[in-house]
């Protein structure tokens, strides 16, 4: 049986992550798309734990922009998974930015200035961290994009600008950018859809969906991981799609292929 506590599960395999918690090279954007019936937040928690609790990377840092929940929420969940966020926060390995309680100014220019200052903080953190010895890669997480859009008075263009800057920072300092977004909030919007823009930008897309047959007690939903592969000067790795089911348990998540459970 595979669980999220084991070194590698189906999700990590599909993401191409190796044993010490690192990603397959830097400069990646990972997009998690979920639905109201199937929350994808557990993937985010899993990735926080993976990136933070690896003993091989004591100098890597997770920058977390939260629009959705207060710090205590993540702290409580991660503690159950065996990871103390409070301590990591004090060690400056988990840098938490509470975006809920910022004063959002009116108008486009004000919002841009605010994002600029947030980006400045992220860049400063990442630069500082990258200058340390043994640096491998940092992680920038945003939970979640649709609430960020709400906070910025619906300007998806500004969100995309911000993502572009995070991504360019990621290519420069070998970071992994992880964002969570909701698929169904865009379902009525005609093209051009900001979600589509993010899918173009992303290297890995994880979709969390309910089962086509509805909810079941043993299976809570399915994940589809689309890994576009990495292109480097000399060549490209092939893109892959994986699909598997998951079951969220009290302190871990089980991943398994359809039909492999009795």
């Amino acid at each position: 049986m595979m669980s999220s506590n084991s070194a590698n599960n189906l999700l990590d395999e599909a993401l191409g992550f190796n044993d010490d918690g690192g990603g397959g090279g830097g400069g990646l954007l990972l997009l998690i798309e979920d639905r109201v019936e199937t929350s994808g937040a557990f993937i985010l928690h899993h990735l926080i734990k993976r990136r933070i609790s690896s003993p091989n990377r004591p100098n890597d840092v997770v920058v977390f922009l939260s629009f959705a929940h207060p710090f205590s929420h993540y702290d409580r969940i991660l503690r159950k998974m065996g990871c103390n966020l409070g301590v990591q926060k004090e060690n400056k390995r988990f840098v938490y930015y509470d975006m809920l309680n910022l004063n959002y100014p009116e108008g486009e220019q004000g919002a841009e200035d605010l994002l600029l200052s947030v980006y400045g903080k992220i860049q400063k953190t990442v630069e500082l961290c990258s200058s340390r010895e043994g640096y491998k890669n940092s992680t920038i997480m945003i939970d979640d994009i649709s609430l960020m859009e709400v906070a910025l008075c619906g300007s998806s263009n500004l969100v995309l600008d911000f993502l572009h800057y995070c991504y360019s920072l990621a290519t420069q300092f070998d970071c992994l950018v992880i964002i969570l977004n909701h698929e169904d909030v865009y379902s009525t919007v005609d093209v051009p859809s900001p979600l589509l823009q993010m899918e173009y930008l992303a290297n890995i897309v994880i979709k969390a969906e309910p089962l086509a047959t509805g909810l079941a007690t043993d299976v809570h939903g399915q994940l589809t991981v689309l890994n576009k592969g990495i292109c480097q000067g000399s060549g490209c790795s092939k893109s892959k799609i994986r699909n598997f089911h998951f079951r969220v348990k009290e302190n871990c998540v089980e991943y398994f292929y359809p039909g492999s459970r009795t």
Partner: protein, 376 residues
């Protein structure tokens, strides 16, 4: 074929008194292979430039979606002469700092001013909303790369979608058309994602281009509806290959369509001739009052027509016409043709082709130059 024809047109560049040839490459999320096509065409053009076979003497690459370092690495890996890269390549870097945030932060002392401009070929664009400035920096770099001679340079823009996110369609179109009509531009091409924009944006871009290359999914994934476990193999297939169709617009207004299949491979992409696809050919035929298409019955009848020599080899002696015929043969032939005719009358479903050429003076029924595509 189609990809080669594009490369040739871009290599040959602008004709005297005409605008430069322009290529639009478009793709969609279901077959997101446009970037591969862009890289392929860029690599072809750059190898033509470095061996000075093309009209253009240099390339100005406008990088929006990928870092200039990435682009330079890509060209280095594909070029046979990596050392000459600096001679003919200039990059306008709209990727690193498109809105000038990094400069602002560095000026206010929040972050250290660690410049990313390690590539000497790149010049930083700090405000992509100002397309006039972008135009002048492209032209300036182009003049630099051709060293003030009377030559011409090529322009490649790696994402017009990014331009359209910051500027209106009309200003983006005016940038492209200004570039196209600039008398030192040999050719230009750009990539954009058609499903990110309204229909009118893609039409506007296609109007100002002389070639449109479109990457489409080979297999239709259930009206593009989500990822179900049933159509996962199809989606995966579309990520690796697509249909590559190209529309060429000639100077006299004639349109030529070409289609190929595109496969991604370890080292870029590969084009293979596509099989005849009835669905696409049908949708391309305009709606007119007379028949341009065959009905199902007509198509069946056409399939039954025995082409000359096709009937041979099925039991009867094989006859190959060598321009003469022996007396004995002509006798039996007469009998046979009579019998054959009887047979034809009985079986009305079978057709035959009778073609009698009037004389040797007869010209092929086209005003087209038969050597039009000749690659010398």
């Amino acid at each position: 074929m189609a990809a080669e024809a594009i490369s040739r047109a871009l290599r040959d560049g602008a004709l005297e008194g005409e605008h430069a040839p322009a290529l639009t490459i478009k793709d969609s999320i279901h077959a997101p292979l446009g970037a591969f096509v862009f890289d392929h065409i860029l690599a072809q053009l750059s190898s033509n430039i470095s061996s000075s076979k093309s009209q253009a003497q240099g390339i100005v690459l406008v990088a929006f979606a990928r870092s200039p370092q990435f682009c330079a690495e890509l060209l280095k890996s594909k070029a046979n002469d990596a050392a000459s890269l600096k001679k003919w390549l200039r990059i306008v870097d709209c990727y690193t700092d498109p809105l000038g945030w990094k400069i602002q932060l560095a000026e206010s002392g929040i972050v250290s001013n660690r410049s990313t401009q390690n590539a000497t070929t790149a010049s930083l664009c700090k405000n992509v909303r100002d397309l006039d400035m972008l135009f002048s920096s492209i032209v300036e770099l182009g003049k630099e790369v051709i060293r003030e001679t009377k030559g011409r340079f090529a322009v490649a823009i790696d994402s017009v979608s990014e331009i359209l996110r910051h500027a209106s369609i009309s200003s983006a179109a005016s940038l492209l058309s200004n570039l196209r009509s600039h008398d030192q531009v040999a050719c230009l091409f750009w990539l954009f994602h058609s499903d990110l924009h309204e229909m009118k944006a893609s039409s506007a871009l296609e109007y100002i281009s002389s070639m449109v290359a479109c990457v489409e999914p080979i297999s239709n994934t259930a009206n593009g509806k989500g990822m179900n476990s049933e159509n996962l193999p199809l989606i995966e297939q579309n990520l690796g290959r697509g249909e590559f169709s190209v529309r060429f617009k000639r100077r006299n207004g004639r349109i030529r369509l070409m289609s190929e299949e595109l496969h991604t491979e370890q080292m870029g992409i590969n084009f293979v001739p596509a099989f005849e696809d009835h669905v696409t050919s049908q949708s391309l035929v305009p709606k007119v009052q007379f028949n341009l298409q065959l009905s199902e019955k007509e198509r069946n009848d056409r399939a039954k027509v025995v082409l000359p020599f096709e009937h041979q080899g099925d039991g009867k002696p094989i006859q190959i016409y060598d321009g003469r015929r022996s007396v004995s043969e002509s006798k039996t032939e007469n009998k046979e043709t009579n019998a054959e005719k009887m047979h034809v009358n009985e079986d009305s479903g079978r057709g035959e082709i009778i073609y009698i050429r009037d004389s040797d003076d007869e010209m092929p029924d086209s005003d087209e130059d038969p050597d039009d595509d000749l690659d010398i």
